[in-house]
Structure formats: structure tokens, C-alpha cells
Symmetry: C2
Subunit: 117 residues, 2 copies
DNA sequence: CTTCTATTCAACCGAACAGTTGAATACAAG
DNA sequence: CTTGTATTCAACTGTTCGGTTGAATAGAAG
């Protein structure tokens, strides 16, 4: 599937294990083995989780001998923040204006409005 | 499945159609039929998408005769913002400190560090 | 009561997902 | 060259997901 970037980022972070990995990588880079330690799943499963994070652009990997240290690309999170902010702000703006309208016409006995769809 | 709230919100917004619905609901409430109009899927599919958004707490629904107007609960988005900010900030902080360290010791011929894990 | 409109429920389908086991690859080191 | 460690690839499995069709419910209106 070739989902857009934002969809990949969001669905990558929809998983608690992957969010926890990101949280731990915010502290510093780590190898696959180190990352896998706290979870009760196979190393292969962790490797797959990392691939999902990598495909979303959330992490990158160096090569250090047989190790593949994982690095958090924190800027990608801004993609989400940008999307969220836009619509949260738009919604807030709307409420603000609705409030104003309601305040500016305090008494208007609302008729049954039968033909009002 | 009983995923935690944040996971439900993120996975709800991992779908482009549902993100688009949220975007349109930021402009104002809408009925299921109105919401369905732009998409080339059945009404039932749209109804399912709305259920996902509702289970995530992202929308609520009134009852207006046979219509069920959908309303965006924009505050829920703050949940995501809070999570993101925390780790992005943490990562940034780390780089800032790393930069300082690197600047404070400008010349140190890095040895091969053979026993350095 | 019947019909029309709006919406949901139920059952089903194929694709994607998260996990598993087992084999393979990539290096380091004896 | 052989062994050990770190990681990934491949194949399989059960579950979830986004969609479908068809039937059901809720209320407005003739």
C-alpha cells in the first residue's frame, strides 16, 4: 500500500509499542536488541515495528559493525502537529464567532422553522 | 479490542477519508448524508468511519428527527499534541545539549575505542 | 397505514497487520 | 575457517480493516 506520508506517520504511532519506542529513542539512539529488551515479543517482531517507523520517516538507521543503531527523526512529528493545529484552530475560531453572533442577538424568539432543512 | 484512547485517536486519523471528514467538520456540523457526498463509497461505509471517529471521542452526535448531525470534539486533538510535544521537545533538548558538549571539547582525537560497546 | 428519507445493523470478502518460527546474512573474533 | 552475535528475510497464521450488499429501524409526511 502506498499511503501518504501523514497516514503512515499516524498509523505508525497508533501502536503503543511503537510509541514507546519513539519515547525511548527521544532519550537517545539505541540498537534493535536494546529496544527489544522491555517487550515480550520476538526480535523479529521488533525489527518489523522498526521498519514501520522507518517507512514513516520517523527513524533512520546507521550501520555500526553488525549493529544497526536506530535514530529518532523528531522533525517528522511536526507534520502531525501542523495538521492538528490547523483544524483545531479552525474549530476554535468557529466557536468564537458563533459566540459573538449569539451575544449580538440576545432575544429572538426562535420560530418553529418548519421549512428550515 | 480495547486499545487505549491515544491509540484509538491516532489510528482513527491514520485514514485519509476520516481526516478529511474531521477537516470538514472543523467548518461546521454535518449529517451523515452531507458527509458522504464527496466520497465514492456507500453510506454504510461512511457510517462505519463515523463510528470509528466516535469511538475515538473525536466526534459526537445529536439527534434531529431522522438525521444524526455529527459534531467535532476538537479538544481531543490536544491529546495527540501533548504526546508529540513531549517527545519532540525531549529530542530537541538532547541535541541542544549534545551540541554544547561538542562545542566545549573542540579537539579530541577520537581513539579507535575498541572496548567501547 | 403506507411511503419516503436518513441511518444503522449483520454478514460476508479480500487486503493489510502483528505476531510467530526457521533460515539467511553480516560482521567480529577466536 | 569456525563460532558467536546482531539483525533481517521468508513463509505461515489469526485478527483487524475498509469495503460491499441486503435487511432493519426511526421518524416525517402523504
Amino acid at each position: 500500500m502506498v499511503a501518504d506520508r501523514l497516514s503512515r506517520v499516524m498509523s505508525a504511532l497508533a501502536d503503543p509499542t511503537r510509541r514507546d519506542m519513539v519515547a525511548r529513542l527521544a532519550v537517545g539512539d539505541a540498537t534493535v536488541n536494546e529496544l527489544a529488551a522491555p517487550y515480550d515479543v520476538t526480535l523479529q517482531a521488533v525489527s518489523k515495528h522498526l521498519k514501520v517507523l522507518e517507512d514513516a520517516g520517523l527513524v533512520s538507521r546507521r550501520r555500526d559493525a553488525q549493529r544497526r543503531p536506530v535514530h529518532l527523526e523528531a522533525e517528522v512529528l511536526d507534520l502531525m502537529t501542523a495538521w492538528i493545529d490547523r483544524y483545531r484552530r479552525q474549530a476554535e475560531e468557529r466557536y468564537r464567532r458563533l459566540d459573538e453572533v449569539l451575544r449580538s442577538m440576545p432575544d429572538e424568539p426562535p420560530p418553529p422553522t418548519p421549512t428550515d432543512r
